[in-house]
Each structure stands twice: as structure tokens, then as C-alpha cells.
């Protein structure tokens, strides 16, 4: 069994390691590959950066600090929803 994974295998393991536990063999092989291969090292840094950026964007939207450039609920739908609510309150 070879220890050094290919680039293809290495990037699969990088993603896998973000969602579940790797085996010891996988972990060692991945570390070794990332140490020797600049492309895969860069890839790893960047997918971690993307994970972080997604979380920050979600936090920003949830804290209402910003609208995250998303459009508001269309006025027409708002009017429909209000009518719907008033209707069921009066019955």
C-alpha cells in the first residue's frame, strides 16, 4: 500500500476531513502530500477560506448588519400575505 496519495486523492481527503474523521493513514498521507505539493496546499487553504467566508456571510445576514445585497420580499407578495393574515384573524 502506497502512502503518498495522488493530487486527486489528496483533494478528496481534504474535503472529507472537513466533514468527518480521516483514518490515520489518510491523515498522514494528506499531510505529506500537502507538504510537497504547492497546488494542493493552495487548494486546501482556499477551500478552508471559502468555508470561513460562507460562515461570515451567514452571520452577517443573520445579525441584520447587512442585507448581503439580497433583494427584499416583493411588495406585491407582502400585500398578499397581509391580506391572508388579516383574513384568518377575522374568521
Amino acid at each position: 500500500m502506497k502512502l503518498m496519495p495522488t493530487c486527486n486523492e489528496a483533494v478528496e481527503m481534504m474535503s472529507k476531513s472537513m466533514d468527518m474523521e480521516l483514518t490515520t493513514v489518510e491523515r498522514v498521507g494528506l499531510k505529506l502530500h500537502a507538504f510537497l505539493c504547492i497546488h494542493c496546499k493552495k487548494y486546501w487553504d482556499q477551500i478552508l477560506m471559502v468555508r470561513d467566508a460562507v460562515r461570515q456571510a451567514v452571520e452577517k445576514q443573520e445579525s441584520e448588519e447587512s442585507t448581503c445585497s439580497l433583494k427584499p420580499l416583493p411588495e406585491q407578495r407582502k400585500a398578499e400575505l397581509k391580506a391572508l393574515i388579516n383574513n384568518s384573524l377575522s374568521t
Partner: protein, 200 residues
């Protein structure tokens, strides 16, 4: 013991007036849904389902949280139900050719193809500040196969475990990590393109 009556245990029922919900929380709920399902019509429908469910259940709203937190909690369930329904119905668009082709990234020897090698991209902090990042992210997610995008949303936006997601999407752990890998490799590439082009 003069204070005993004042520290009564029964909490005052908190009134929330449903007539104000649309104006107060409509945009917030809509953006919350839009970020996760991306389709505007679907996001509108989810807001409607949420408000109607809240209307029915408002007697149960005990005021332990804010009205907004309570409504978001209902919306989250509606979004998960929507994803679950999609996968139960095996909703596959026949015109959907958006599957991520891993052969576009690696050669026969499993090395990076020259045009797939990761380029530098700018630190996203600035893009998040400028709100460019969300726009780019949502349009990149739109290019993924729908269930792959759903798996990504649940994992990275809702921070759910792989077990929970496999259950909702009715997939095996093996399906799940392959989907996530495809999502990440395609998103990274797509974000690289949109940032590099924007920041040229």
C-alpha cells in the same frame, strides 16, 4: 415577605400581533430563505408557509425567545422539509447538465490539469465587507446540481452533521462526501473566476 407576590413564577403571556409580522420580519425571513434555497419564488412560498404556521401556533409562543427567533425557527423547519420533499420525490430536472465533471480538473495520472491549477484569489474579507461575496456565492451555488447545493447549504450554512444531512437528503455517507467534494472543487473554481474577473 413583602416581595413574594412580585416574584411570581407564572410569566406574563407575551402578545405578538400577527398584523405586524409582514412589515417587521418579512424581508428578514425572505432573505434568510433566499440565501438557502436561492429560488425567489420558492423563498416567497416558504415565508408564506412560515407565517401561516406561526399564525396557527401563536398560542404556543411563550415569549421565551424574541418573535424573530421564533419565526426563524419555524422557517428553518420549513426549509428542511422542502429539501426532504425534493429528495423523496427524486426531483431531478432532465435538462440539468450541471453535474461537476472531475475529469475537468485532473489528468490521467491524477495530477492537476494546467488550466485547473488553483490560482491565488484575494482574501475574501474585503469581498464580505462589500457584500460581493454573497452574490458570487449564490450564483456559483446555482450552477451546482440542486441536491449538491442543498447538501452544501445544510453543511456550511446550517452547520448540520453529516448524519443529519444524509437523513434529510436520503443519501449514504459515501454519496454525501462525494457531493461535498464536488461542491467544494466547483465552488472554489467558480469563486476564483468571479473574484479574479471583478478585481482585474
Amino acid at each position: 415577605m413583602p416581595n413574594q407576590n412580585e416574584t411570581s413564577n407564572s410569566p406574563k403571556p407575551v402578545e405578538t400581533n400577527p398584523e405586524t409580522w409582514v412589515d417587521e420580519y418579512g424581508d428578514y425571513l425572505y432573505r434568510y430563505a433566499l440565501m438557502r434555497v436561492r429560488d425567489p419564488n420558492q423563498a416567497e412560498d416558504l415565508v408564506q408557509e412560515t407565517l401561516l404556521a406561526a399564525l396557527k401556533a401563536r398560542k404556543n409562543f411563550a415569549g421565551q425567545s424574541t418573535v424573530k427567533t421564533w419565526l426563524v425557527g419555524i422557517l428553518k423547519h420549513k426549509i428542511i422539509d422542502f429539501f426532504r420533499k425534493n429528495s423523496r420525490e427524486k426531483l431531478v430536472d432532465p435538462s440539468d447538465n450541471s453535474d461537476v465533471e472531475l475529469n475537468d480538473f485532473f489528468d490521467k495520472n491524477k495530477q492537476w490539469l494546467p488550466n485547473a491549477v488553483p490560482n491565488d484569489f484575494p482574501n475574501p474579507t474585503q469581498a464580505i465587507e462589500n457584500e460581493e461575496f454573497t452574490t458570487a456565492l449564490l450564483s456559483c451555488l446555482e450552477k451546482l446540481p440542486p441536491r449538491t447545493a442543498e447538501a452544501f447549504s445544510l453543511r456550511e450554512m446550517e452547520d448540520m452533521s453529516s448524519e443529519e444531512i444524509c437523513n434529510i437528503l436520503d443519501i449514504t455517507p459515501n454519496n454525501f462526501w462525494v457531493m461535498m467534494h464536488r461542491a467544494r472543487i466547483a465552488l472554489r473554481k467558480c469563486l476564483e473566476n468571479s473574484w479574479l474577473n471583478q478585481n482585474k
